[in-house]
Structure formats: C-alpha cells, structure tokens
C-alpha cells in the first residue's frame, strides 16, 4: 500500500499509527502473502485495526473512557469497510466470528482469546 493510500485509510486515526498500529500492521503483512498484492495491505490494516480497536475499548478488561471507545468503534468500522473492499466472503465471515468470540468471552467474564491468533486463523478461511 502506498504511503498516500495508508494516509487515506488512517483518516482520524493518525495518532494510532505511531502508537503501535504501524508495528501491528507490519506483523500482519507477513500473514497475507497468499492474497492478491493489491489486497494485502488492506487486509493487514483491517486486522491491525481490529486488534488495536479492541485494545483501545478495553474489551475483557476495564472499560475505556467514552472518547477512546468511540475511537475503537471507528477502528472496527474502518476494518469492516476494508474487508468489504478487499477480502473474500470467507475471510469477512471469519473476522466477524473472531470478534464475536472475543466479545462473548468479554461479556461472560471469561479470558478473552488472543486477537492475533484468531485473526491469523481467519486469514486462512476461504
């Protein structure tokens, strides 16, 4: 993904990029090598946004303050749109199921499964 394209997809979320999102994005890039080159950056960013968004919200831990929650919501929504743009249906469904699993655990007071593990597995869905 060109710098210009990343900038566009980070609208309103720029502050997160230096605060861990860029590293998370790069780590997911390694996992999306099997997809078409044009889709890879969007898929990696979508995964990174889910991971950072849920962390911001405090899912499974202490609730985030309202402005931070809204930022987390925007991360999830942006991720959903990126997946709609670039992911096969199976990956879209697998991502949603991963978030369902984590949030159900959070609501039940159970330990929330690792976001990274679930999303890496979701990339294997077709």
């Amino acid at each position: 993904m060109s710098v210009h394209l990343i900038d566009r997809e980070l609208d309103r979320l720029e502050s997160l990029w230096e605060d861990g999102l860029s590293d998370t994005y790069r780590s997911y890039l390694e996992a999306v090598g099997a997809y078409a080159p044009a889709a890879q950056p969007k898929l990696a960013l979508a995964a990174a946004l889910v991971e950072i968004g849920l962390r911001l919200q405090g899912l499974g831990g202490r609730a985030a303050a309202p402005p931070t929650l809204l930022m987390g919501d925007l991360c999830l929504a942006r991720s959903s749109r990126l997946l709609a743009d670039a992911a096969p249906q199976g990956v879209q469904v697998a991502f949603a199921r991963a978030i369902e699993e984590m949030s159900a655990a959070g609501a039940s007071g159970r330990a929330v499964p690792s976001t990274r593990e679930l999303l890496l597995r979701a990339f294997e869905a077709s």
Binding site: L70, R81, D85, Q89, R97, I99
Partner: protein
C-alpha cells in the same frame, strides 16, 4: 397443548431474573395465537412474580424479603442435627424457603394475537432466593395455534403484517443462537420496541427490484436493526444515559464493560450476517455507512458545548450519525433486489433526507413533556442540536442561552434553557425544515418506478416527522 422447560443460570443469592423475553420467544415459536401460557417453578426456593423491571424497585423488593425473613434469624430447617436424610451439600437456606412463601410458584399469562398480554410496565420474573444455581421452569402453552387468515390475495395491510412478522421472527431467531450474556441485554432492547424504521426501509426497498426475496430481505433487515442497536448500546455508555425505550440501558444495568462487549458482539454479528448474504454491493454499502456513523459520533462528542455552533456543522454530524444508516438501509434493500442504479441512488437520497429530518424531529423531542422521553438530555450534555443552535444564535434569547449553556447546568438552568428555546420559535423553525426535507425526499421517489412501494415509502417518511409534542 405444548409443554416445555425453560432453563437458566442465576448469578446472585437473591436475583430478579426477567424472563419476559424468553416467554415471548416461546409463544412466537409455538405459533399460538390465542390462549394461555402457564408457568411453574420447579424449585422450593425459586418464586415467580409479575412486576416492573426497574432496578431500584427490584432492590426495594429484595430488601423487603430480607426484612421479612432475614438470613440470620435462626431457622429450624437449618438445624441439620435434628433433620433426617440431610444431603452432603444441603445449603443453609431456611430463609429462602420462607421468602418463597411470600411469592408464588405458579403463574398464568394470557396470550392474544400471538403476544403475551402484559401491561406497559409489567414484566415476568423468576425470583431466585438461594442462588446462584441452575434453575428450571415448566411451561405449558394452551390455546388456538391456527395461523391468521392470509388467503384470498393479501392486501397492503396484510403484506405489511407478514413483512413485520418476518422481521420479528428473524430477530428472535438470531438472538436464540447467541450466548446469554450478550443475547439477554440485546433481547431487552429489541423487545422494548423501537420504531424499526431502518429494517422497514430495507424490507420495503427490497421489494422493488426484479429479485424480490422476502426471507433474504428479512435477514438483511434484522442485521441492520442489530447493527443500529449495537451503536445505541455504545452511545448510551458515552452519553451516560440511564434509560432507553423506558428500560435501563445496558451500561446502567450491567456496567460499561458489558455494554462494550455486547455492542461489539452485535456489531460483528450483524456484519457477518450481511457478509453471509453474499452481495458485495450490499456489504460495502452498509460498511461505508457504519464508518460514517462512527466518525460522526466522534465529531458529535467533540462539538459538544461549542455554541452557538452552525447549521452546516450540525448537518455534517447528522448526515453521518443518523442519515447514513437510513440511506444505506434504502440503498441496500434495493441492491439486494437488483434494482437499477437509478432507483438505488434515488432511494439513497430519499433515505439521506429522511434521516436528517428524522434527527431534527428527534432533537425537538428533547423539549417535549409529552414525548415519553426525559426532557433536557441534550441540554445537559450540551449537544449541538438544531433547536439549541437556533436559540443560541437568536438575537433576543441567544445571549442568555449561551451564558447558561456555558455554566453549570442544574435542573433550574436546564428548565430555563428549554423555556428560552421554545419562546425563541426555534422548534417551529426546525419542524418546518424537517417537513421541507420530507417533501424533498418524496420528490426523489417521484422520479423513479417503485413497483407499488411509493405510497408506503411516502407514508413512512411523513410519519417519521409527525410526532405529537
């Protein structure tokens, strides 16, 4: 006659478990139109009650039970040395048995037109007196299970009823699949009512194109409603709202952690249901709308207190926060039915105009004693609503409105701001604008062929801004 068991887990020693939703589901699944639902506790420390689900009142009930039969009053039942055949895990619970005497173990709720007959404030509770435990109720449904007459070519009213039934069934079905910690709060919200405008728009517009499939439309409509409700659950936490649709919000009743998790769960579930429909244009349309909703929520909070504000900023927020999902509902239904691009875009514009008008009308509700909603919430939160913008920029009352909104807002100040807004004529101005937008929305419908759906869409648009104040 149908007999079943309703099973659930309690979490507290004393707990009022609202089972109204579960019972409604059982009635709907059974298809019973007219009759009686009998329920019976299968435990000697689990009672039944019909009363109001208001958290403070429930605490009053709990304290009443504790006063009448205190836990430490010394009960002969708890003197295991004098009893025969005491189980190894026998609990010390004489108080719980005595409290159960004050309640009932049996109840009957009437069913008419396929719905429980309950008053506005009535909920059915299973009352745990010795929890936490696994509990079980026996229920029997006894009555007329025949389907309502639908033969002879259904008219518009009958079609609308069937469409509405499909949506409610789909919502019920989806919630049945989910774990209790997330489904129960969402069920409370869904069952508390709401106008269901967004799913209705999906279903109506899904009947316009050549591929009209009511079941797929109901799936999409239910997903859109769940998505909308997920955003409301997070909004209520952000706004510190205690009630929605007359019931405690998830954040108020169960804490912000649960509210965040429930919102996230249904955000994800709704996007999954939409993805599973398998129409890429529909998925993208809803995803883009959701992004707009979330971005505008951030703006909405950031702009709070920035009076006098301006109409353009307001419209920017409202187009994202409210109108985006209305527009997406209209467009996605039409896309699902494979309507032409011209129709999809006309409906998208109709939804956008309707959404803005709807939000303007909702802003006015904040000043209405008769709306059923608390007055002055927007004032207290210093929301940049259109009536407040107009009053704040008014030459006569504006200085006082701005001064009040810049200071501490107690009940007296909130009341005074509301008076000033009304006296400034701001509400009339906002209402007139909303009506103009609705007429523009109706004009969008005049330009395309809508396969008989135009009158319903026009009626729905007009009713959305026609509220009694």
């Amino acid at each position: 006659m149908i007999g079943k068991r309703v099973r659930f887990e309690t979490r507290q020693a004393t707990e009022f478990v609202d089972i109204t939703g579960r019972l409604r589901d059982e009635v709907r699944r059974s298809g019973m139109r007219m009759g009686r639902l009998h329920l019976q506790s299968l435990h000697t420390t689990l009672g039944l009650a019909v009363n109001e689900n208001e958290p403070l009142l429930l605490r009053d009930f709990q304290r009443l039970l504790e006063r009448v039969a205190p836990a430490n009053a010394g009960y002969e039942h708890d003197d295991f040395a004098r009893r025969f055949e005491v189980a190894l895990d026998e609990p010390v619970n004489g108080h719980a048995h005595c409290r159960q005497l004050l309640l009932t173990g049996f109840a009957t709720v009437l069913v008419e037109d396929g719905e429980l007959v309950l008053g506005r404030w009535q909920s059915v509770f299973a009352v745990e007196l010795d929890g936490p435990r696994h509990r079980e109720l026996a229920i029997q449904l006894d009555g007329d299970f025949s389907l309502p007459p639908r033969g002879g070519g259904p008219g518009r009213g009958a079609r609308a009823a069937v469409t509405s039934d499909l949506l409610e069934l789909e919502l019920t079905r989806q919630l049945l699949d989910d774990p209790d910690p997330v489904s129960e709060p969402m069920r409370r919200l869904v069952e508390a009512g709401g106008k269901r405008l967004r799913p209705k728009l999906v279903q109506l517009t899904a009947g316009i194109g050549p591929r009209s499939e009511p079941l797929r439309a109901a799936s999409l409509a239910a997903a859109v409603e769940l998505l909308h409700n997920a955003t409301l659950i997070h909004d209520d936490y952000v706004d510190e709202s205690a009630h929605r649709r007359g019931r405690p919000t998830v954040a108020a009743a169960e804490g912000p952690e649960r509210a965040i998790a429930v919102g996230d769960y249904y955000f994800a579930k709704a996007t999954r249901l939409i993805a599973e429909i398998g129409n890429r244009s529909v998925t993208s349309t809803i995803a883009e709308a959701l992004e707009a909703v979330c971005a505008s929520q951030i703006d909405d909070v950031a702009l709070r207190g920035a009076y006098p504000g301006d109409r353009d900023s307001y419209l920017g927020v409202v187009r994202g926060k409210t109108a985006a999902l209305f527009a997406a509902a209209c467009a996605s239904g039409a896309l699902l039915s494979e309507a032409s691009t011209e129709i999809v875009e006309a409906l998208r514009r109709y939804g956008d105009l309707l959404g803005v008008a709807f939000q303007m009308t909702d802003d006015m509700v904040d000043f209405s004693e008769s709306s059923g909603k608390p007055v002055g919430l927007d004032i207290r939160q210093r929301v940049l609503s259109l009536p407040l913008i107009y009053a704040a920029e008014d030459r006569t009352v504006g200085p006082e409105v701005r001064r009040l909104l810049a200071g501490t807002l107690g009940d007296a100040e909130v009341g005074r701001v509301a008076e000033l807004v009304v006296s400034s004529g701001a509400l009339r101005r906002v209402h007139a604008e909303a009506e103009t937008l609705i007429e523009e929305a109706v004009q969008e419908l005049e330009r395309v062929e809508l396969d008989g759906q135009r009158p319903v869409l026009i009626s729905l648009a007009r009713s959305a801004v026609d509220r009694t104040f």
